[in-house]
Assembly symmetry: C2
Homo-oligomer: 255 residues x 2
């Protein structure tokens, strides 16, 4: 599949999902649980609406799709990781901070990605990367700060950090893109469950990681390990640090 | 001053500030520091624009105004506490979460408030209270949950808490209103500086506290003390807990 085709498909999906989601965002109906997702979290009505629209379009193409609610669908050579609605809580409460994220990969590993797309469904702001990264068509790059007294997004602070400012908006795909474009200096997710596993799934973050990397970000696990050999599977979980190159080592020391 | 007049003035200010602020929100110009505010924090250009518009309208009336950038202005009997732009960082970066807050009081103490107004300047959502509290004209009330595994806004977590979900959006006036209308279960600010003083100023929170109280919220310091005898002064600082009544005592224990 060509990059131009991936962009065209992504944009069509995002526009259709945006219309449908915004029709019920903030309504009581939006947040009704309709099923249990294949990822083990409850599927809300607004998630289902978003995924149905996205899958209908994706299934017109020869793809293997990995998605939050339905798991793995199709058996094409090109892999698509899809989060049809990232920030379900916000969308269902009418908080204008939720997105759709999808990426295309030639291989089963994150390193095989060749195209990624994230759209802020409340504002319509569009991020994508074809190797270079863009916000509404304009090239973006990460911040160059080397000062840990920085503007951080962190899930969740568990002690006092040196950060100047902390934010938690509730859509990691969009928040990682806001590191890609320099709005924030870093995105950190240190959460772990009782077994020490992280919370982020592959479809939550792969698209935005590709966008951030191609905007100059350094990306790693909390131990500093590379993530690009990780695979597009339902059961992978991540704890990650995304920042500019001048800050990455310093943040690893802080965390 | 009558409540109807306070609403009319507030709405006129908010509409004018909204137009002006949204014209430069997200631009480089918005975040340029133009002076040092009377509160001791830098005044950005976007703050100055908002305050100039608000003060021009307020000064047509016989008021004593306490405001972030200019300090105390006028010597009328009715006191107005004004935050012309709460969420300056967000506004200057184009993140759609910033507000204007103002309240009217018969006395020098927070307990003298008789009208409060908060407007989400990105979405236009309007909160006000005249003794009852409203969101876009519809009565609102706080959540009734008694489960500490709740949806919390907290500046900033400094250890692991039992909350189900944590958010930090960056406009406390608006976030306290989102507790008033039940979108979130609590708002907590535990931050303190080297001298143990909080960060919230009187104009940051008084309007939204009045709205939250009249929507059924319990409001206190982190020690459980009443805040209504606190005075409208530039140097007061707050560390607070706002939640529904069923949750308040439990949260005081957790904090």
């Amino acid at each position: 599949m060509k990059v131009s085709e991936a962009l065209e498909i992504s944009r069509k999906i995002a526009e259709d999902v945006e219309k449908a989601v915004n029709r019920i965002a903030g309504s009581r109906e939006a947040g009704v649980t309709v099923a249990m997702g294949k990822d083990g979290t409850p599927t809300k009505k607004i998630d289902r609406i978003a995924e149905d629209i996205a899958l209908k379009i994706l299934r017109e193409h020869d793809l293997k799709i990995i998605t939050e609610e339905s798991g793995v669908v199709g058996d094409g050579e090109t892999i698509v990781a899809l989060d049809p609605l990232d920030g379900t809580f916000n969308a269902s409460r009418g908080i204008p901070f939720y997105s759709i994220a999808l990426c295309f990969s030639k291989t089963e590993a994150l390193g095989g990605m060749f195209f990624a797309y994230v759209r802020d469904l409340a504002s319509g702001t569009e991020y994508h990367s074809d190797g270079k990264s863009y916000r509404n068509g304009e090239r973006i790059k990460v911040s160059e700060t080397d000062d840990v007294r920085c503007n951080a997004i962190i899930y969740y602070p568990d002690r006092i950090y040196p950060f100047r400012r902390i934010r938690v908006f509730g859509s990691s795909a969009l928040e990682i893109c806001m590191v890609a474009d320099g709005t924030f200096d870093c995105f950190i997710d240190i959460r772990k469950d009782g077994n020490g596993r992280g919370y982020l799934r592959v479809f939550d973050i792969s698209a935005s990681l590709f966008i951030a990397r191609n905007a100059g970000a350094e990306i790693s696990s909390l131990d500093g390990d590379d993530l690009w050999k990780k695979r597009f599977t339902m059961d992978e979980r991540f704890r990650i640090l995304v920042s500019g190159k001048n800050l990455h080592e310093k943040l690893l020391d802080v965390l």
